[in-house]
């Protein structure tokens, strides 16, 4: 069963220094990307980094990511039910 996983970018400000969800997920569902794509000749500001759930097929629904996120930015739901 595939979950719906959302990350609120307004709340998740600096995932590159936090990394809590990336590291706690037992099946490594999350990925870190940017909302601007690669930038020529300049480094991307940490504020442009975003977390997304990409390996949805491996989410067991343990909710560890939801519980560990210090910003309450992650929601996981199955069957379109209420997100926790």
């Amino acid at each position: 069963m595939l979950p719906t996983i959302t990350v609120n970018d307004e709340k998740c400000k600096e995932p590159t220094s936090c990394r809590k969800c990336l590291l706690i997920c037992p099946t490594h569902v999350f990925g870190l990307g940017t909302d601007v794509g690669p930038q020529k000749f300049r480094e991307i500001d940490p504020s442009h980094f975003i977390v997304r759930a990409v390996r949805l097929d491996k989410c067991s629904g343990c909710m560890d990511c939801v519980n560990i996120c210090p910003q309450n930015a992650i929601q996981v739901s199955f069957n379109g039910g209420d997100a926790r």
Binding site: M1, L2, P15, T16, R19, L22, L23, T27, H28, F30, G31, L32, G33, T34, D35, V36, G37, P38, Q39, K40, F41, R42, E43, I44, I50, R52, A53, V54, R55, L56, D57, K58
Partner: protein, 278 residues
């Protein structure tokens, strides 16, 4: 025969021993369009390191095998033209350091994306060729900078990474141009993960298959943790390691760890049922 050796081998034993596949003339400037594609609209770009989007996973979930097959073939076709890999052994990787120049040690984009791994812990990837001289164009692709290595230094690094248990593989950047020598593990390597979890062949098996001599295996199990491809297991009732040769990618990591020399690498081509299992 391996499709890529057939197409691009030009008489060499392996396509990745053919110096022409590392030649400057094959190096292409990366396209602006691809770089700028909207990350928000594209979960792969946003999440960094997934080859497929949720539409593939959804088709798989609802059991739509025709659609899954169609998407798989479409993706493989595109990747084989642009960017895919093949597993190689340590010995083969060492040989490549004498063919290709320059070689540089860079941070791994997959682990950066999947773990947010800090640069100083993440120097496990090797970039090769003309493109490396222009790494400053893309500071985030080469986050942490670039260490240019002599062939001897590259050999030393590869041997250390092998000792750590990382799988070597060679990657195209605009096939057949070879410019990446990755050192990877499951689950954070996008290619290993995609081929193992989803069966999409963005990483080809190598030219060897590992084989255990049960007489020599003493049951120490030190090889078991070396397999990144779910090919190696342990038979407790016999106290022997077991290799599923149909699942084996031929990286040789189990063999380099076995101090009984109980594991040998057999040429894939010598095994009729496996000769075309890539």
């Amino acid at each position: 025969m391996c499709d890529w050796c057939e197409k691009y081998g030009d008489g060499y034993e392996r396509w990745y021993f053919n110096p022409a596949n590392y030649a400057r003339r094959l190096y292409k400037i990366r396209r602006e369009e691809a770089e700028a594609s909207g990350a928000e609209a594209n979960p792969q770009a946003a999440g960094g390191m997934a080859f497929v989007g949720s539409d593939f996973l959804e088709a798989r979930e609802r059991g739509d095998t025709a659609e899954v097959e169609r998407m798989k073939q479409q993706l493989e076709g595109a990747m084989w033209l642009t960017h895919f890999g093949q597993v190689i052994t340590l010995e083969e990787a060492l040989k490549i350091t004498d063919i290709m120049y320059p070689i540089s040690l860079i941070t791994c984009a997959c682990r950066r994306s999947m773990e947010g791994l800090p640069d100083e812990e993440n120097f496990t990837c090797m970039g090769m060729g003309a493109g490396m001289y222009k790494w400053e164009r893309w500071p985030d692709t080469y986050r942490g900078g670039v260490h240019f290595l002599t062939p001897d230094e590259a050999k030393e690094v590869l041997s250390k990474l092998n000792k750590r248990g990382l799988v070597h593989s060679i990657y195209t950047f605009g096939t057949p141009y070879l410019a990446g020598l990755c050192n990877c593990d499951y689950p954070d390597c996008a290619a290993i993960r995609t081929v193992i979890d989803l069966g999409i062949k963005v990483l080809w098996k190598g030219h060897y298959v590992a084989k255990i001599d049960p007489e020599l295996c003493n049951g120490c199990a030190s090889c078991v943790h070396r397999c990144q491809f779910r090919a190696l297991s342990f038979i407790p009732s016999k106290n022997k390691a077991y290799i599923d040769q149909f699942q084996c990618f031929g990286c040789g990591l189990c063999a380099t760890e076995c101090d009984q020399e109980a594991i040998t690498l057999v040429e894939r081509a010598s095994l009729p049922a496996l000769a075309n299992v890539w």
